[in-house]
Subunit: 348 residues, 2 copies
Amino acid sequence: MNVTGHTRRSVSIRDVATAAGVSYQTVSRVINDHPSVKPSTRERVLAAIDELGFRRNSTALALASGRSRAVTVLTSNTTHYGYASVLQGIEEAARAAAYTVGIGVLESADGADEADVAAQVQRSADAGGGLIVIAYDPAGVRALGAVPAGLPVVGVVETPASPPGDDRPWVWADDREAAYKATRHLLSLGHETVHYVAIPSSTRRTSARTTGWQQALKEAGAPQPRPLQGSWGPAGGHAAGLKLAGNPAVTAILCGNDDLALGVIRALHETGRAIPGDVSVAGFDDAPHSAYLTPSLTTVRLDFTGLGRSAFALLHGVLEESAQIAPHPVSVPELIVRESSGPPPERG
Amino acid sequence: MNVTGHTRRSVSIRDVATAAGVSYQTVSRVINDHPSVKPSTRERVLAAIDELGFRRNSTALALASGRSRAVTVLTSNTTHYGYASVLQGIEEAARAAAYTVGIGVLESADGADEADVAAQVQRSADAGGGLIVIAYDPAGVRALGAVPAGLPVVGVVETPASPPGDDRPWVWADDREAAYKATRHLLSLGHETVHYVAIPSSTRRTSARTTGWQQALKEAGAPQPRPLQGSWGPAGGHAAGLKLAGNPAVTAILCGNDDLALGVIRALHETGRAIPGDVSVAGFDDAPHSAYLTPSLTTVRLDFTGLGRSAFALLHGVLEESAQIAPHPVSVPELIVRESSGPPPERG
DNA sequence: CTGAAAGCGCTTACAG
DNA sequence: CTGAAAGCGCTTACAG
């Protein structure tokens, strides 16, 4: 290792070539694992590379070859647990494949107009490489739609209503099944029905989560209340919780994510309802803190990092023919029963 | 599906040049806002750019000029609120400056050995551009230390024990002041002393938060208990909380972050202690859910996104002489008093 | 004010 | 198996 020569101009394949007594093309062959290089010269080149501390300039590689080994993730608010976890999964898989990962933040779901989103997509496209768009919200969906044709892109989306075509490389968790499981759980405890506080839908009114919830109610012959619209954070849950608290018939509430559930629980506390004595609450995601709330939160765990890894694998397959095109495996949600759900109160 | 993807060659400055009837060097001048271009030719070039939809190839720009307008953020676990917020702030500022932001995740604080960290730093350096290292944990500190000399880097660090030299472009929040404020608040409520559950220190034993806490105790003539070592997540807080719950003399606990506080509160609940009736608890960070916990959490708000913006501004100044070198403004922590803190119980 | 040359560090044909 | 040429799309001197 050459410790001293760091601030200097970095060593190029020409430097390595002269040190090894070969042409720089041969150096290129060695660092690209080209088969037709005589073992002895390969040795010499590798020795020179090691001695000089040569590292291939990725910018020049990208320009000359057109391949960039880079992926840019387009996402809204990275502080949300689900988003951050997907990003983490992508980074993990990208690192293993020696890919660089860039990040572009879309404005908050509400505030992102077409122009902003289009500009951000363009910027990401300019960076070269592939794109992964987390399309859990309107801004993300808009971004996914604004990607120019021909640019390799993978979408991390809500469960689509119908299976997308092969021209839509998407990955998703089984939101319908998750909501179905959670609703069944609450009904099995004896609740007459289950109310639902939804996260903002990325596109249409009836998300897969809503569908799963409704299906479970229908199968049980339970009344189907109208879903309440929440936001992403606890504030939206709090507002929805206050509304639901006004109705004494409400004994079970399913929430679109754990933060929403937190807000709902807070609102119920404020209005003097016991959990789960008076009202049961269940969330979605199994965020790290959910197990430590009081009461601890019943929720459905979704494998976001696995989803991120799948998204990268899919993109990797598109980018390099050599790479396996993984089937988009739909991760199976797991119900985690904790303290916030229990039997309904005795009826008066 | 279009497997190979981006087959359409993008338009180059030569295409623009022929369309505008000038040489490609003139096009280069126009897109670089070079002063010496005749207004009429500039017009023609701009028109051609617009018509052909030309976008400058950033890879070629980087290779030819050496400037890359890119920053890579090196960080541990992106799902923690503080880290994610700093990243958000960096991205925001970078976007405004038309910089690309890359991300490299360091292995979890405990599991990252020297080699892993060094490899990740190398990878980030290879990407070109500047580096911002979030050094709130041992892995980050190690990464900051492993950055080769000559590479532009800014550290987001815990409050340093003594002011760093000019060769250490660092930003930080005032951890000492924050801990001091929170401790003073608890003491002012009448508590005899305040116990402290610490986040893992990034380097040495006595972090600035510990110092601030101790200082407040000292000034008040309060007993100085030994700090408890926590982890980053609620699990560590829970373990520490169980220990503290065994001591009936404990009436006030300051926690190194809100997640830790969550775990402590949970442990106190499990052991039958009322909050704040029996024990007051305060956190650090003001995470989004902290206001909606039951009881809502007294905490100290730190401006992480502001810190991220400052970090980028500092790096920007290093990278481009034209950019203003912002002084690293130490963000002022704000005490947020909520339900989890109150007077101590009557003494028996 | 504008054009012709050289080159950033690499790869991809093309020779031998 | 290895070398000499051309070029990726741009910028930076250097001419005029």
